[in-house]
């Protein structure tokens, strides 16, 4: 089902990415087993309105980073499509004037900057690669402007990445991403390698830039507290599928899917000093061999026979129709809203 919103900057329609994880042919023949595929992303649909932020949250292995890579075209979809500003992504990628409109910020600012390049060359690379400017002085002025924009000094351009702290390096990554004047940024865990005080600096910077430049963000994170600070809408992923997609305030005040509720329950928070928490039982199953029906059913306190057999689709939730949720219990009204869920299993 398509995600109904205003003018989307980016839309994915039932997009999926499967990876072949079969053993080598000889071993497969000897063991008489077939091919195996890992369904990292298995049919998800969402849309991001221009000038807003959509966040995807989930635990490791849920496929959120694969979505980030699908959306910028680093992976091609196994099926489904990605539409960038009204145009299919495969066509948009072929056209450099379209390609420069999207950029990515990576998690690890230690690995994503070339240690042998000076910062000014790192930042100018997209300008050169897209042929946006030819004149050296012009490029120099643009780099200086970008460095100022992210809170560094134009003189920092002469230095090498190792001379900077983690937070400053992430600022350099942002400056590089901004150098081709993009409209859409994919941020894959941009602050999870940083300390909290520095994390706040980077998130504030990203918010300022969004306001000033009208950027659209796809924000990938496992940290719900961070997601709450930056998002307009939030999608929760579990085992390669979206289980809930809602406006941020709705999601954080009235989470509907049992998995989302469990996640909220699990966050240690300063305001809960000494509180006894009910941890979610069990662990995320392997995406190579996902459970039948609803992938969350083995850990879900609300699971019944239907959940084990039939995979739920994303539909508007009872009571909060702005929320899309894939859960039979919510659909049938047996989700005990407002009560704490006691976890199943150990």
């Amino acid at each position: 089902m398509r995600d109904p919103i205003g003018t989307p900057m980016l839309e994915t329609i039932n997009v999926a990415r499967h990876f072949d994880v079969s053993r080598p042919l000889v071993q497969r023949v000897l063991a008489r087993e077939g091919r195996r595929s890992l369904k990292a992303v298995d049919g998800i649909s969402f849309a991001i309105e221009k000038g807003t932020t959509l966040s995807l949250v989930g635990e490791s292995g849920c496929g959120k980073s694969t979505v980030a890579r699908l959306v910028v075209g680093l992976y091609g979809p196994t099926f489904g499509s990605v539409i960038f500003d009204g145009q299919d992504l495969s066509q948009a990628r072929a056209d450099s004037s379209q390609r420069r409109r999207m950029q990515m910020i990576f998690q690890d600012p230690y690995a994503s900057l070339n240690p042998r390049w000076r910062v000014r060359d790192i930042i100018a690379e997209p300008i050169r690669a897209f042929g946006l400017m030819k004149d050296k002085a012009e490029i120099g002025a643009k780099v200086a402007e970008l460095l100022t924009q992210v809170g560094l000094s134009p003189l920092d351009g002469q230095k090498f990445p190792h001379e900077f702290s983690g937070g400053q390096r992430q600022r350099i990554s942002i400056a590089r991403a901004l150098s081709s004047n993009p409209e859409f940024l994919v941020c894959d865990e941009p602050t999870s390698a940083l300390d909290v005080s520095v994390q706040a600096q980077i998130l504030n910077l990203m918010k300022d830039l969004q306001q000033r430049l009208g950027l659209t963000y796809l924000f990938i994170s496992h940290n719900l507290a961070v997601v709450r600070q930056v998002s307009d809408r939030v999608g929760v992923m579990y085992l390669g599928r979206l289980v809930e997609l809602a406006p941020a305030e709705t999601l954080f005040t009235t989470a509907r899917h049992p998995y989302t509720r469990a996640l909220m329950e699990a966050i240690p928070d300063l305001e809960m000093t000494g509180r006894q928490r009910i941890p979610v039982g069990g662990e995320v199953p392997s995406p190579i061999n996902p459970p039948s029906g609803c992938p969350f059913h083995p850990r879900c306190p609300l699971a019944d026979a239907r959940c084990k057999a039939e995979r739920p689709e994303m539909i508007p939730a009872r009571g909060t129709p702005e929320t899309m949720v894939a859960c039979h219990a919510v659909e049938e009204g047996r989700d005990r809203v407002g009560e704490p869920l006691v976890a199943a299993g150990g």
Partner: protein, 327 residues
């Protein structure tokens, strides 16, 4: 309160380098009582893991203890010979590290590792130790423990592996556990399970714990007292409620303020400008002075020691006599 189980006095750790000696820990003093959980927080490079490593005797060369003393039950342990230290580790001090994969030996089954630890430290024969190992695995919540005991570490998931590591740290019934970022490598839902487990086991066995983490949420829920470190020194130490809710030191206040709350959305998050100084360039006076919003003249020249500040101790001149009154 009885005599503390662990006492660290004026600990100083140095790293000799070609460009001069770096002081990684400078004059760190604290104590942990029997059964108490002390949280140690701070940003990366503040010296929290270093403090843990110094206590366990696992400082990586060329780092060395250059001053001060560490006492466990009144006995000095920082100057013990290697063989004595080996007996101490595991038996009296257990350690839990961030990454369970590097803590466990991939070539031995988890059972073999548990049994070896117990046979070394406790008066048990291998058969008794095996029965005890199964008990421990059950206690930390490994399903089908009597079969899983013969599995290798790679056959467990991350959360299960960390449970094995906890069993390994606790199985010789040490009096003190040094847990260095025990949940950082885990997902939120698993993190909650592991913290709950660690907390209940420590309480049950009366074990003291030094919990090193950068996650204030974990500290708020687990620790009794908390020490905040900055640039190799403790800047504030006090009961967890006081430090989290009414931090005295401007750095602790900034650190608490910059944690994004999950309960509400802020227009703008509170941030601390700049970054922590490198060990080679620690400013004179209070190390935090270039970033401090409440800095005054004295902070730039004279280094503050821990002094009473409200119900906590803080190393900040704001709490000395004659300090300017800041709001």
């Amino acid at each position: 309160m009885t005599a503390p189980l662990l006492e660290v006095r004026n600990l100083r750790v140095e790293f000799p380098t070609r460009r001069g000696t770096l002081v990684a820990l400078n004059d760190v003093s604290f104590s942990i009582a029997q059964g108490e959980v002390l949280g140690v927080v701070g940003e990366s490079g503040a010296g929290k893991s270093m403090t843990g490593a110094a206590i366990i005797g696992l400082l990586e060369p060329p780092g060395r203890i250059a001053g001060g003393e560490i006492l466990l039950n009144g006995r000095r342990i920082d100057n013990l010979p290697y063989s004595e230290l080996r007996k101490l580790r595991g038996r009296e001090i257990g350690a839990i590290f961030q990454d369970p994969l590097t803590t466990l030996n991939p070539l031995y089954t988890v059972g073999a590792q548990l049994i070896e630890t117990m046979v070394t430290h406790l008066p048990l024969n291998p058969a008794q130790a095996r029965a005890k190992a199964i008990e421990w695995l059950e206690l930390v919540g490994i399903p089908a423990a009597s079969q899983r005991i013969d599995s290798y570490p790679h056959e467990f998931s991350g959360g299960m592996r960390q449970r094995v590591v906890i069993a390994l740290a606790l199985c010789a019934e040490p009096k003190l556990i040094v847990a260095d970022e025990p949940t950082t490598a885990l997902d939120v839902s698993i993190q909650a399970q592991v913290i709950a487990l660690l907390k209940s086991l420590a309480r049950e066995k009366g074990t003291s714990m030094m919990l090193v983490t950068h996650d204030m949420g974990v500290i708020a829920e687990t620790a009794d007292r908390v020490a905040v470190m900055y640039a190799g020194r403790i800047v504030e130490i006090g009961a967890v409620r006081n430090v989290v809710r009414h931090a005295s030191h401007p750095y602790s206040a900034g650190l608490m303020g910059s944690i994004p709350p999950v309960g509400r959305r802020l227009d703008r998050m509170q941030q601390i400008d700049g970054s922590m100084p490198r060990l080679s360039a620690i400013p004179p006076g209070c190390a935090y002075n270039p970033r401090c919003p409440k800095v005054f003249d004295r902070c730039r020249v004279e280094r503050p020691e821990l002094m009473p500040a409200g119900d906590s101790l803080a190393a900040c001149w704001l709490y000395a006599e004659g300090a300017p009154r800041h709001a």
